[in-house]
């Protein structure tokens, strides 16, 4: 029982945790990431300790917020995007913010009282080496992708469990029209589209770049830049590239908002301003791989590999909220059942 005794000792030693009375609770999705020095700087300047709570995927995070609205688990929430904003407003879990960051124009507006922080595009990525080797021409539109030549080449995420998957479904509906979109999905099913639960499974087990068998994957327009940034050798060209087809690009805008019933209002306001400050706007581009919402923010050199598409296909926010669940159900019956 020596080991148990050691454990008992460890338990005593380890359970000492300081609690912070002056703390700002920030609810965020699991991709939230900022340069550490900036966070330390914020804590020093505002005199509050940041307590970041990660609640999973953005959709999951919002659901947790809705579920606990009687006793909110946070004071401020980051990561509600334009595909979720209508649901969040309808559920009445946010309080409007009216500080300077709200007054200043953003490159991409989100909703009144919700401050846009960053934006990006969900889009198809392809493996350049695979297409160069196979000699197959790139498809020029979504219809071509459903032809036998592109059989078994595409992997997408399940819109019921993944936010990029949901965004991609939305773009097909906005781009092709609802009926045509589901018709296209039905043809994609016969053409062997692979569905994964989330982005990571798609990118790291199905994509040809990472040992899978599918050279086209639903990802972000910034992913090719991240591939360069996180490549092992110094490379000047990304191994992947964007495939911007009509009806395959969704513009995602993420924002920060006050939680209804939250405390620490002043610190929460400071945090919102902080997210729109120049250093954060510049830094988040290579930590979260999104574009800055503040006009005039310097774009890091590596983002040159992340081309912005000339067009994107978003359904109106209120129809996302009202029809979204039905679209997902219909997608499930068309593609999976």
């Amino acid at each position: 029982m020596m080991f148990v005794r050691t454990l008992c000792f460890l338990a005593g030693a380890l359970l000492a945790f300081a609690s912070h009375a002056n703390e700002l609770r920030v609810l965020a999705h699991s991709s939230f990431s900022l340069p550490k020095p900036l966070i330390a700087q914020f804590e020093a300047q505002s005199g509050v300790k940041l307590s970041v709570i990660k609640a999973g995927d953005a959709g999951e995070m919002l659901n947790k917020l809705i579920l606990t609205r009687a006793q909110p688990i946070a004071d401020v929430v980051y990561g509600i995007d334009n595909s979720l904003i209508a649901k969040a407003l309808a559920a009445n879990v946010l309080d409007p913010y009216a500080g300077p960051a709200m007054q200043r124009p953003a490159l991409v507006p989100l909703a009144p009282g919700v401050v846009a922080v960053d934006y990006g595009y969900v889009a198809l990525n392809y493996d350049r080496a695979w297409f160069a080797k196979s000699g197959l021409a790139l498809p020029k539109n979504l219809q071509e992708l459903a032809l036998p030549a592109y059989r078994n080449l595409v992997v997408v995420q399940n819109p019921a469990t993944s936010s990029p998957g949901f965004a991609f479904l939305l773009s097909t509906i906005a781009g092709l029209g609802e009926e045509a979109a589901f018709d296209w999905w039905a043809r994609m099913r016969t053409n062997g589209v692979k569905v994964t639960k989330g982005w990571t499974e798609a990118y790291y087990t199905e994509f040809t770049r990472n040992g899978g068998a599918r050279p086209i994957v639903v990802s972000y327009a910034s992913s090719p830049a991240a591939e360069v940034f996180y490549s092992k050798e110094k490379i000047t060209e990304s191994p992947t590239a964007n495939l911007f087809l009509p009806g395959s690009v969704f513009r995602q805008v993420e924002g920060v908002a006050l939680v209804k019933g939250g405390q620490q209002r002043e610190a929460a306001g400071r945090f919102i301003e902080f997210l729109r400050s120049a250093p954060v706007q510049e830094g988040l581009q290579t930590t979260m791989w999104m574009f800055a919402a503040e006009p005039g923010t310097t774009r890091p050199e590596v983002m040159r590999h992340a081309a912005e598409p000339s067009a994107f296909y978003n359904p109106p926010a209120d129809s996302i909220a009202s029809k979204g669940p039905d679209w997902v159900n219909r997608w499930t019956s068309v593609v999976l059942k």
Binding site: I53, A55, L67, T200, E227
Partner: protein, 542 residues
């Protein structure tokens, strides 16, 4: 019949009269961590409850296929795991050869590896551009074989470890008696050894079934959405659609189904429980070509099923290059290692406490035995949402985090210990009592040493669960609580070759830490040897 007279079978003064006392702790824990959150969620779901909608759900062909497929794949895995695991356990329990103990410990590693990393390892071998599939010209992508392989990779260790322990408890004298009375080795196996190891195998098979049934892991990634399990449906309904009523109905249906398996298991185990003997069959060095062949074939199949994907990860981590290895000294990695170690240590401590209490409480009660499966039976996402609703203030607190780890880990301790308590040889305790030992002394000097190996095995599994547990991130978590597993998933949440390789390096580190933990937990204490004048007690697994 023997049981009725065996005072020693019950651990002295911890006998049946006081057994319920032991149950207070684990049952209270289950009440707070599982039952109350689920009840709270049910209250939340009540206004939306429509019987029409729920009965329509059960008539949905797609959902029926899901349930049917879930049952089928779990059953297939159980059959395959038994067919492969039993011979393997035989080899590991009956033969003494170099590397035997190491093989037993390495066997635990699949349990630790995050599912996504395991999937990468499996695909490196069997994927479309995998080493082995290219060699043999196979394409397993999109077939159920890859999925079954994945299930075996994770679950074989459960069956083999239980099998080894069971075979070590088989009485050598009884086997010898059967043989000298003219039974063939086969007959001796079926009539003497098989009945003795059956309860252990039933227990392990039930665990495998429940794991595959409610599984959320590798099989899903390898199988894709077509082979997804019901748990995924529940996850979708709760986490993404917030439709608590249908999710609750589905979760309840699943819980009833798996609960039936758990009760059945508890009943079978209680029926089969017979006190064992302390004269284990001695291991011997393999002699002759056949026996060596058996050892080599056993180890080779073990390697192919469980070792190769892990080796693929280690090889890729080792060849990743200096630039990627730098991640080991990253300012994120060291705190994550520390978190992994302290959370796991605390979780194992709590799990041991709960597991021991539960095992003692459940000695006489089928229902209490079945209750130990509760953490496996309920859907983790559903519980997570219930906890959030019930304890919003505690949602991002350390006690809840550790509690969640322990909840998933403690059934291993309870089950392993429960089986061992059933099989304690009765006569040793009786002899000790006759010689004047107090019940307390009998408990500490006879019962505890006899069940210690099982307790260690349970703790090792609990540690493996805690070290590799990712389900906990379903709760709210804080960045400063990042463990190695969360770091790995964080890396795999961003594109780029360096991220992927860093994830593999971190996974290799996690495996190394886990191996160290197993060695620490399962290390044979010297005292056990002093205490072993009875032949066979030295055969207690190291």
């Amino acid at each position: 019949m023997l049981r009725r007279f065996s005072v020693g079978n019950a651990p002295g003064h911890f006998g049946p009269a006081r057994a319920w006392w032991w149950g207070v702790l684990p049952l209270g824990f289950l009440l707070l961590m599982v039952v109350a959150p689920l009840a709270r969620l049910a209250v939340e779901a009540l206004p939306d409850l429509q019987w029409a909608g729920i009965s329509a759900m059960w008539q949905d062909d797609y959902l029926r296929w899901r349930v049917w497929w879930t049952v089928l794949q779990a059953t297939l895995t159980c059959v395959a795991a038994l067919a492969l695991g039993l011979p393997l356990a035989w080899v590991l329990a009956r033969f003494e050869f170099p590397g035997r103990v190491l093989a037993l410990r390495l066997l635990m590693l699949p349990f630790v590896v995050p599912t996504l990393v395991a999937a990468i390892g499996v695909l490196a071998l069997w994927g479309p551009r995998g080493m082995l599939s290219a060699w043999w010209g196979l394409d397993l992508q999109g077939t159920p074989w890859l999925l079954l392989y994945g299930n075996l990779f994770f679950n074989l260790c459960l069956v083999v470890r239980a099998g080894v322990e069971a075979l070590e408890q088989v009485s050598a004298a009884r086997v010898a008696a059967a043989r000298s009375l003219g039974a063939t080795p086969w007959r001796a196996f079926w009539r003497v050894q098989w009945p003795a190891i059956l309860p252990w195998l039933v227990s392990a098979t039930c665990l495998v079934f429940l794991y595959c049934f409610s599984g959320f892991g590798l099989a899903l990634i390898l199988g894709g959405q077509r082979y997804a399990t019901v748990e995924v449906e529940i996850y979708t309904l709760v986490a993404h659609e917030l439709r608590l009523a249908p999710a609750g109905a589905l979760a309840l249906g699943m819980a009833l189904l798996t609960g039936a398996v758990a009760v059945l298991y508890a009943f079978v185990e209680r029926r089969l429980a017979t006190p064992g003997r302390a004269d284990g069959v001695a291991r011997r060095r393999p002699t002759g070509a056949w026996q060596w062949c058996a050892v080599v074939a056993g180890l080779a199949s073990l390697f192919l099923l469980c070792g190769a994907p892990l080796l693929a990860i280690v090889v890729r981590a080792a060849t990743a290059g200096e630039q990627v290895w730098a991640v080991l000294l990253d300012d994120e990695t060291l705190p994550a290692v520390w978190n992994t170690l302290r959370f796991s240590a605390l979780a194992v401590l709590l799990a041991t406490l709960l597991g021991v209490a539960h095992a003692f409480a459940a000695r006489r009660s089928v229902w209490l035995r079945a209750a130990a499966f509760l953490p496996f039976v309920v859907s983790p996402v559903t519980v997570a949402f219930g906890l959030l609703l019930l304890y919003p203030r505690w949602s991002a607190s350390l006690p809840l985090l550790i509690g969640a780890y322990a909840l998933l880990a403690y059934p291993f301790v309870a089950n392993a210990l429960g089986a061992a308590l059933d099989h304690q040889p009765a006569h040793l305790a009786q002899v000790a009592r006759t010689l004047g030992a107090t019940p307390r002394r009998v408990f500490w000097r006879v019962t505890v040493p006899l069940v210690l190996p099982a307790l260690r095995r349970g703790m090792a599994f609990a540690a493996a669960t805690a070290l590799g547990e990712f389900a906990v991130t379903l709760f709210l978590s804080r960045p400063e609580w990042a463990t190695l597993t969360t770091l790995i998933y964080q890396r795999l949440g961003r594109p780029g070759g360096a991220n992927r390789d860093a994830a593999l390096v971190l996974a290799a580190l996690l495996m190394l830490l886990a191996l160290l933990a197993f060695v620490l937990i399962e290390q044979a204490p010297r005292r056990a040897r002093v205490l072993a004048p009875v032949r066979g007690a030295t055969n207690v697994p190291a």
